[in-house]
Amino acid sequence: MSDGLYRRHALASFLEGETGNGPENTAADLEVRPDYGYLNLRGEPNSERFMQTVQKTLEQPLPAEAGAFTSGQHTIYRLGPDEWLVASELGTENETAGRLAENLAGQCYSLVDVTGGQIMMRLRGPRAREVLARGCTLDLHPRAFKAGRCAQTTLAKTSMLIALADDAPTFDIIVRRSFAEYAARWLRHSGASIHSRVTPVFTGAGGNPVR
């Protein structure tokens, strides 16, 4: 291993010693997701041409509203009026970026590969809202934050991108890489304090070969 090429997940140290064999059917489960490829896309939302080109290339609509995301081959989060985050299976982002760049040639846009800059965790279960609400300034009430919505907001003393995938509820939480350990510890602590068991489960390996 030491001589070969391998990827090391930002939470590898944190997960050492975690068995991944937590109890099932807990009130809230925290799962560390394997890495995705991430592209940050900026462009003019009022340009029909830009929106069409991106949709055609990704074969998926860009979320039209503020605070929405679309799922498909990619998950596309709308971060701001002219900013989107495209999450894809790790290893495909290069090819996706290449196709976007080719099709957008001559247009005004920005496409930056930000793979490796953030990690995703999934918090799921009937009491997941409570676990988050202790350190999140966003109104998480189902009336205010529905499935299909995403938001950039705070998580304790850091920031996160949070998306509500379904009404289980399942929250996908994206945090910056260097804050990953803090966020994971905080979520585990918050879960423990309401007698919900948050057990970090890692669904990928700690040292994946590059290819």
Binding site: A66, G67, L79, G80, P81, E83, T137, L138, A151, Q152, T153, T154, S159
Partner: protein
């Protein structure tokens, strides 16, 4: 704590925002043409009114967009019709 209405993200907690001071101060087009007094006025002098104040905010922990709000510096109430 204030609830601040981000024009893009909607109402959010004050702690998600950064404050940018008085709004509507335009950078002089030709700074070299200004006297030292005029330049200092642009640099340092602010109105600091008691009452209505147009000011800049940035949704730092959200969409990172800057916007302008009008706030009453006595009651902290934001005017509804500003964005």
């Amino acid at each position: 704590m204030l609830l601040i209405n981000c024009p893009w993200c909607g109402p959010r907690d004050e702690s998600e925002f950064g404050y940018g001071g008085e709004a509507d101060i335009t950078r002089p087009a030709d700074p070299d043409a200004l006297t030292d007094e005029e330049w200092a006025d642009y640099l340092f002098m602010r109105k600091n009114p008691r009452g209505l104040h147009r000011e800049q905010w940035v949704h730092e922990h959200g969409c990172r967009r800057w916007f302008v709000l009008e706030r009453d510096t006595v009651t902290y109430r934001f005017s509804d019709d500003t964005t």
